[in-house]
């Protein structure tokens, strides 16, 4: 079997597909889920990974520049969407282009992932900037360590609104998606995947192919991920 | 007055005592492990007895039946512990002052300077207890208890770590506490000299029980109970100071008999207590002449007790009171000492030891 280093946010979907893969091929897959930066650094320092699925193209680029991945195998595996959520069920949607987000927040905070460090935060900041909301909203942003923590802030009602991935918002009770950010307001949310140089690239590629097979795509879609066109 | 009634079971030891300590000094006497410290701790409130009642001057300190309990810090007991228990983080001066901080403002206070001088601990004031010698520690512990303006003093072998000279200096101070300040004391001691000098009452403990209680004269005069053995037996007599002589002797009047001893600081007319240790008395049928011993008490043999050993304890009635003499059976026989026989008790002046003199 091979070892897959994958961004933690892909866990449920990947576990499901791997189960199917094992059933189909008899091959076991071992996953190590953690934050993409940690995984990338570990690969830099010799981790026994065969396949890397990053939530962050930046870190994949770094590995590619250092020749640590099999560049030929790199694909954009998954896509995601950025949405605005609010605390509570059945909160009416709003129009991101016309609403004064800062005014709506009032004293409240906008929960986001770290806006300069974590992809979801970086994308969110870009989108808000593109929409002209960033200057007024920036002082009200509460930056969480990751998307899930931002979601938790909204779910608990601590922050009235937050910016998270569609995949996260779907599964959470107690929050409503009140707007989706336009695709063009931020760089595409892409999860690149690539076989790690020096690993079992053959099997890594086989599994990667399985992930991109219709069976794999279906499961990703079920979990709310987008699947970039090939 | 202190009344004590205690029952307390410890693993392998059971305490069951009941005694009253009239004003003055009550000495707890008894061999190692007979419960002396345990009694004192219960009086101090450091031990909660299974059952018991302790009162001081009518105030209930502890009554298990009525569920009354006065915590130790409200009892104001000046406790000199057997093992010192100085506060290691405080200097000697701070240790001494500790009790003063908590003493009621209106309480009679000993002055720090006086206590320091008495105990000879002036040079130690700025040191910490860790750097003191054994005797130095114990002296500081005594000072600390004295300075807390206590209603009562509990002293657990306070002098045993001290050299004889220091003991001789400090004993009179305990006496003064008893006589001048009138502070009651419960005092553990193994030394007959200390008992004779200080005790108003002696409580003899044995295996956690009161074996005997009585005045110092009664208990010290009874060889059967003396835990220290016959060598500690002796008589306590009352005498009145008659006059002071120019050669440094004080003449006492003990029931009409003159007794001489080295000058004592008491005004003529005052009553003192003297101890005559049984083993220091020599008996003679005729009135002896030409001896260096100045004190000769005429008397009559009251009774004579012999044991298995070569000794005999003779008690005499004299005008001064009952006197005990420890002689050999051989001498008793040679001199024909039988009840009713007249004889003379010879006591050396200086053998009426300064330590054995207490205010009556």
């Amino acid at each position: 079997g091979i070892t897959v280093f994958a961004a933690a946010s892909t866990k449920t979907a990947l576990d499901d597909i791997a189960a199917a893969y094992t059933a189909d091929t008899g091959q076991n897959i071992t996953f190590s889920y953690a934050g993409s930066p940690a995984l990338a650094r570990q690969i830099q320092l010799g981790a026994p990974a065969d396949l890397f699925i990053s939530a962050n193209p930046g870190w994949m680029n770094v590995l590619q520049d250092e020749g640590l991945i099999d560049a030929g195998s790199r694909v954009d595996l998954l896509a995601n969407r950025l949405v605005l959520i609010a605390h509570g069920t059945a909160v009416p949607p709003l129009n991101l282009e016309t609403t004064d987000l800062a005014g709506l927040l009032g004293e409240g905070r906008l929960a986001m992932a770290l806006v300069d460090a974590v992809p979801a935060g970086i994308y969110g900041k870009a989108a808000l900037a593109a929409l002209g909301q960033w200057p007024s909203v920036a002082p009200k942003v509460a930056q969480a360590a990751n998307v899930r923590a931002a979601l938790a802030l909204v779910a608990s009602g601590e922050a009235p609104m937050g910016v998270v991935y569609a995949t996260d918002a779907r599964a959470s009770a107690g929050v409503s998606v009140i707007a989706a950010f336009p695709q063009d307001s931020h760089p595409p949310v892409i999860y690149p995947a690539a076989a790690v140089a020096g690993g079992n690239t053959g099997e890594a590629k086989a599994f990667l192919a399985y992930l991109r097979s219709p069976k794999g795509r279906d499961i990703f879609l079920q979990h709310g991920f987008g699947v970039p066109d090939q | 007055m202190l009344t004590v009634s205690l029952q307390h079971a410890l693993p392998a030891f059971a305490l069951d005592v009941r005694f009253e300590a009239p004003p003055g000094v009550t000495v707890l006497f008894g061999r190692s492990g007979t419960g002396k410290t345990t009694v004192i701790q219960a009086v101090a409130g450091l031990l909660r007895p299974d059952q018991g009642r302790v009162t001081l001057d009518g105030d209930v300190l502890c009554d298990t039946r009525q569920r009354q309990w006065l915590p130790p810090h409200k009892r104001r007991m000046g406790y000199v512990f057997q093992e010192g228990r100085l506060f290691p983080h405080l200097t000697v001066r701070q240790n001494l002052a500790f009790g003063q901080w908590f003493a009621p403002r209106d309480a009679k206070q000993e002055s720090l300077d006086r206590v320091v001088e008495l105990l000879g601990i002036g040079p130690l004031l700025l040191r910490r207890p860790g750097l003191l010698s054994g005797g130095e520690k114990q002296r500081v512990a005594i000072g600390r208890a004295l300075l807390s303006a206590p209603r009562m003093i509990l002293a657990d072998e306070p002098l045993s770590a001290l050299d004889e000279a220091r003991k001789a200096e400090i004993l009179p101070y305990f006496e003064r506490l008893r006589d001048e300040i009138g502070i009651p004391m419960l005092y553990v001691s193994h030394s007959a000299a200390e008992v004779a000098r200080l005790a108003t009452t002696v409580v003899v403990l044995q295996n956690g029980k009161v074996q005997r209680q009585g005045t110092a004269a009664e208990v010290l005069g009874d060889p059967a109970v003396m835990p220290a053995g016959v060598r500690a037996a002796g008589a306590l007599l009352q005498a009145r100071v008659a006059r002071h002589h120019s050669d440094g002797l004080t003449e006492l009047d003990a029931g009409g008999v003159p007794l001489f001893l080295p000058q004592i600081a008491k005004a003529p007319g005052s009553v003192v207590r003297i101890r005559i240790s049984a083993h220091e008395v020599i008996l003679s049928r005729q009135r002896p002449e030409g001896l260096s011993a100045l004190n000769i008490l005429p008397g009559t043999v009251e009774h004579l007790r012999t044991g298995g050993g070569p000794g005999a304890m003779v008690s005499l009635t004299t005008p001064a009171g009952r006197v005990l003499a420890r002689v050999t059976r051989r001498s008793a026989h040679a001199l024909g000492l039988e009840p009713g026989a007249e004889c003379h008790a010879i006591v050396k002046t200086v053998s009426i030891a300064p330590e054995d003199i207490g205010g009556g």
Binding site: - | F87, S148, L154
Partner: protein, 234 residues
Amino acid sequence: MSAEAAWLGPEEWQAVKLSLRVSLWATLAALPLAVLTAYALARWQFHGKQILNSLVHLPLILPPVVTGYILLMVFGTKGPIGGALQQIGIVFAFRWTGAALAAAIMAFPLMVRAIRLSVEAVDPRLEQAAATLGASRIMCFATVTLPMILPGLIAGTVLGFAKAMGEFGATITFVSSIPGQTQTLPSAIYTFLQVPGGETAALRLTLVSIGIALTALLLSELLARRAADRAGGR
């Protein structure tokens, strides 16, 4: 100070100051409670003692992120305690006070353990002696126990302070990372570590963090040595 200010960016400098404030407050505010808890665990017998003991240790056992979540649930504005406190004007959410609360809770078990060991090492007979000299329970504690546990107290406080300086998971989960409000040094370091090439900046902040904590440590060693000498009677 100005050298450091130049070396660090303004936002980093802010994080340093905030971390100091948060850690100091966390340790100082937790200290009395830690002493009380330690004393109770060491000396008293009461029902629920083991439960208290377990509660105290929970933050040590739990992954910090979980602690952060629990804090959010309990002390958030919608939480049972947080909501009640909000009524009387005490707010933790997104405030530096919340960061201090998180740091204090994470540091608490360390402080309690150290102090408790010291209390257990104090000979109760010395407290008894103080009582016979007229010191009430509280005065016994203040004049005898407290000075004697000083080494442990100092050790515990510095341990707590160091922990508070390094605490990250619970803090960021509870109060997130708002520059000037809740962005402590570890949050800032974490941020740098998330981006490729952020290592140098992270290292710089790490050094600052080490510098501060080690200074505290050395100071405490000096203090503890003196306190121990005194408690040892020298």
